[in-house]
Symmetry: C2
Subunit: 281 residues, 2 copies
């Protein structure tokens, strides 16, 4: 009777609660990684349908099968609207999915600021899209707290993508007013910020509060929505922020080969259902 080898086939059930009485479950055929970093519990499991799944503190961050919904929709709306994006800042996003989408464009430099170097290492090993992105000479990797980075940097960026995890744990400050206020330091007159803002179904209060303080800071504050099958409720909300570029302005072309995004989707994503519009009034 021998013990289990690492990476041996298993059948563990992972559950993520979306409310105290409901959620999503996955059977893992393999647990590929499980370790606490100084910031959070990092896990990689393998599921028959969704492939590899990255969990931080038990919450699904990305899956091989459906990562494109979230990553395309965090990146391409800003790039379609910006007339000439050259310098890009990604806050968070250590799994590399946002970076992969950004590098589809002829940008000059992309700075990825991730607080947890362990997330980068794990993603490099288990998520095949990250390693080539890190080797791209336009990529600069900074291991730092995103809030401190924007307080200290002297650079400005055409597009900033805030790919935070939920407002618990290390990402908490990335959801607060000060963070967005300080971000003005890193912007030029045509800059666009995009950020994930949680579930339009389960996180309505936090979206409502965020909308209120963002309107004090930016002239253009436009929320948009997209399906993300493995996130709570299957839909996710994002916000497009700028002082000069309107969200429905189309100044660019999407790159070839996208699985989700196209210019019709861009316009459609900013059309909000009544219950969501009512939250923003």
């Amino acid at each position: 009777m021998s013990g289990k080898k690492p990476h041996e086939d298993i059948s563990i059930e992972f559950k993520e609660y979306h409310t105290p009485s409901s959620g999503i479950f996955f059977k893992a055929s393999k647990q590929l990684y499980k370790q606490d970093s100084p910031y959070q519990k990092i896990e990689v499991i393998e599921n028959e349908h969704f492939g590899r799944i990255l969990l931080l503190d038990g919450l699904i961050q990305t899956t091989e099968k459906d990562e494109f919904f979230y990553h395309e929709m965090l990146v391409h709306p800003a790039f379609l609207s910006h007339p000439e994006p050259r310098s890009v800042l990604i806050i968070g996003g250590g799994d590399g999915g946002v970076l992969k989408e950004v590098l589809r464009y002829p940008v000059e430099n992309v700075c990825l600021v991730e607080i947890d170097s362990q997330v980068i290492k794990v993603s490099q090993e288990y998520f095949p899209w990250l390693s080539p992105c890190l080797k791209d000479e336009r990529t600069e990797l900074v291991i730092a707290d995103g809030t401190e980075f924007i307080e200290q940097t002297n650079k400005t960026f055409d597009i900033v993508c805030v790919d935070s995890s939920e407002p618990v744990g290390p990402s908490k400050s990335l959801h607060e007013e000060d963070f967005y206020q300080n971000m003005k330091r890193c912007l030029n007159s045509r800059s666009i910020i995009v950020a994930q803002t949680g579930s339009p179904i389960f996180h309505q209060n936090s979206i409502k509060l965020k909308n209120r303080f963002l309107k004090k800071i930016f002239k253009v504050v436009c929320f948009y929505m997209s399906p993300v099958p493995t996130y709570p409720g299957g839909s996710w909300a994002f916000v497009f922020l700028s002082d000069s570029v309107q969200s429905l302005e189309i100044n660019g072309n999407p790159p070839e080969g996208l699985l989700y995004f196209n210019p019709d989707i861009h316009r459609a994503a900013f059309s909000l259902p009544n219950f969501f519009k009512n939250e923003l009034d």
Copy 2:
């Protein structure tokens, strides 16, 4: 030691598998109903967040909390496009959610054809929106097989809503070519049919096949999408069919008080992501 009383508080976990290795779970604080009808297993459970949930053969049909996503999006796109809908046929929909949305309009008559009278009885008891709809003098309730009804009726309808369950069990024939071919008998020159067509994420093959045969039968075949948080993948696909009315034609106004639908959402819903468009080519 006494046995459990009916409707006693419980804490059972209900799971719906969306793939063989993943799905959604709910804790039921009460099991309000559980019985096999001649057609299917009917259950009503109560969940703290979603309220009452109707399950047929273990699959979630509707929940109190999020029913509006599906029901509004099955009904209002057709009504916004049709210039003057007077007579409406609902195939399936025994829970009454579609009927509720249809009766918001000044229609003259609505015929609801449900195969399973037990679904009607259960919904009348547990889903508060159904009973007033059945009392509405414009409503005619027919307990019959939808496929047989359309083969035999002499009536025609301005709008037909196909609110089937999945293509297993009693709804199987409502997903087949013959059903749509025969439906031409019930249409006039300006009729619109709308039908749920499954998950754009998990049921791509069935959507592909359906698109192929529908294109042989109807001049206008336009798929659209909407979030439905408690359905597999959190997004659902629908199809808009007509021989004369274009899906983006707007001839009417949506009624007051909708939680999801508005004219912007109408246009947005028909903007399909690349992966879905590719399935339809």
